[in-house]
């Protein structure tokens, strides 16, 4: 069965690359451009994994992550946080509130794909 990935980022310039990349890798892809839309899309699209940007208008990635983790029915959802903030403290925070992985921009697309695949067990 095709694994589903939700990309949440307000910057179209990264969304276009991620969307293209993940589709090429054979995943089903949906996109949300802010935190609120992300929560709605999770409910509709029911993804296996979320690529979640931290800095977003309306709801930050941290808030979205916390909201998702607060829902026990979504226990199996994988969350990869993407951020332009590289400080140790933020990485620690992301992992502490329940992200499964934390990737700082700029990142290697190969590494990201490898990571996503490992996490979804499709490698």
């Amino acid at each position: 069965m095709t694994k589903k990935i939700l990309i949440v980022d307000d910057e179209p310039n990264i969304v276009i690359s991620l969307e293209f990349l993940m589709k090429k890798e054979g995943f089903a892809v949906a996109v949300a451009v802010d935190g609120e839309e992300a929560l709605a899309k999770v409910a509709d699209f029911n993804p296996d994994l979320v690529l979640l940007d931290v800095m977003m208008p309306k709801k930050s990635g941290f808030e979205v992550c916390e909201a998702l983790r607060a829902d026990p029915s979504r226990g199996g959802l994988l969350i990869v946080m993407l951020t332009a903030k590289g400080r140790d403290t933020e990485v620690a925070k992301g992992l502490a509130i329940g992200a499964d992985a934390y990737v700082t921009k700029p990142f290697s697309t190969k590494d990201l794909v490898a990571k996503v695949k490992t996490m979804l067990g499709v490698a």
Binding site: E11, N13, I14, I16, S17, L18, F20, L21, K24, M55, L82, A84, K85, G86, T104, K105, P106, F107, S108, T109, K110
Partner: protein, 720 residues
Amino acid sequence: MKAKHRLIIAVIVLGLLMTGPFVVTSLLVWLDMKEAERSMLTGLLLSRLPVGTMMTLFGFVIGVLVLHKLFKQYVEGLLRMAETLRLMLGANRNFRVTIEGPPEVMQLAQAANDLAQQRDALMDDVDSQIATAKASVEEEKNRLAALMSELAQAVVVCNLDGRILLYNNRARLQFKALSQGPTSVAGGALIGLGRSIFSILEKNQIEHAREVIHQRLVAGKTAISNFITTTRGGQLLRIQMVPVLATSGEASEASMSGYVLTVENITRSIEEEERRDQALHTLTQGSRSSIGNIRAAVANLLDYPDMEAELRERFLHVIDDEVAKRSLVIDQTMNQFSDAIKTRWPLEDVLGIDIIAAAQRRIDDKLKLPTKTEEMDDALWIKADSFSLVFALVCLASKLQDHYDPRELRFRLSSTGKLAYLDLIWAGPAMSSETFYTWEMEAMQIGSETSPLTLRDVIDRHGGEIWYEREKAAHRAFFRFVLPVATPEIEQDQDERARGKGRPEYYDFDLFKFEDKSIDLDRKLSDLTYTVFDTETTGLEPSKGDEIIQIGAARIVNNRLLRQETFNQIVDPEIPLKPESIPIHGITEDMVRGQPNIDVVLPAFHEFCEDTVLIAHNAAFDMRFLQLKEERTNIRFTQPVLDTLLLSAVVHPNQESHKLDVILERLGITIGKRHNALEDALATGEVFLKLVKLLEDQGIVTVRQALEAAEKTYFARVKY
């Protein structure tokens, strides 16, 4: 019994001894004889009586003479010696016993003199040791004070009560800059000897720092404490506290007798730091997502070369877009933060002319090349590392000498906006830009002195530029150093230069013993802190609307007049000046307009006088002016007031005049200018210090006694 009486008794005894046995024997023999024998004996004796009497008298006289001689030598001589010894003990140390009389007495005298000699040697030794110790303590004090006053850091020393014992010029300027009010309280109303540091810094923070030091002392760590505080004006100060420990005690709170505070105003550096951080942030964190976007797009383009043309176009567009955005950000950052991003080499604020003067001295010294100056902006401050800059100038001069042998060099200093131009000018042939380029990139050298830096390094270090330019018309050329202009944090104090007589009195170690804070009237006059002041007014009738136009004041702490801690303020009287009064006080309409009015000045003056006894000459006059403002300003001067006019009358009741000029002359005080409130206040202070000694001679020692004595004088009864 007196010696004389004893001599008389001795003579009588001698007389009795010489005649007594003969008379008694004769009497006994006489009683035993028959009548015939008696008459025969009478006959025999009477005829020879004169001889016997003569012999007895002769013997008696000799006896008396011997006795007198012995008396003179042994009794009177010793008495005299005793007197001399007493004299030596008390009044005159150098007196000695005259060696005379019989051998025994002479020996005694000699021994006494030897003892005295020994004692004198010991006493001289003790005296000289005390003097040496005193001198060395004094020297140390002076050295410390001199050292402190030259320090670039602001330093304040306080006793445990928070009273300021010592501060340096930098501290004064630092705090003066903080106390930016409408009045120019020259010397700062805030800082002053004997004043409380708590008027400047938060008491709680000081107490906390002391606590920290105490704990560190107990723990055996270095006793030091740092804290950052904000002032009323929102400035940030970094304070470092170290304890002054009593030498005898062990390291504990009990032996801490005070503390040293070094104060640094970090407002500016913090602001700069923040800007630098912000710039750094914009350039790093801000780049992350952009680069991330580009990187992902590039990776896709590379990894999937056979993608559709439309998609490829979109990825290329992403790259183009992001790169354009980044370029813009970099430009903006550079513009905005150019100052903050500049080299972190520590540059100091120096006067441009000082740099040039230093370079001139070295050029003259090292190269024997005459130098001159042309247009010089002598108020131009630049940010520079003066050592490397002077080195670069001298190095260039040396190269010019080697290559072109100019007769002289000239310096010029000017500025436009934020840039300072320092020109090194010489007359001679044109030089090629290649030559100059080589000079720029070579390690600098002056004779045998070398530097690891090149001229270019020095220029870069200053965030500056240098170029070669020809003045064709004048047949000469110059090197132009472009350097950043500095806005000096603290301006030089002109007042002080004008007033600077001898070393500033920024220190008073005797205040270590200072404890009592409130004004105790029974304390000695010489122990108290005073404010001597004088006012200039529009006229002599306060009740008829005359107003104060100037207040001048200085402080007396521990019997010293502090010329650095002064208050000098012109006041706008808000009424026209009387033309006839202008020549007296020398204050014109122009000078008072734009100055603060009495509502502003009086509170500042009141603060300046806090916790002190007021002194003025003819104080009643000045106090009347102050009193009339009580209602309007809600400021009351409640402290005791001493009047030098009255005190002078106490000391010299028979003198006719007690005008300030006359007293000054009488007490042998010479001062320069007069009839300026500050100068008159300072003169009054000098008078007071002389009067304190004269009052002491009359048994007037405390403030209470001085006030009472002043009240009783004739002059006091003439109310103003």
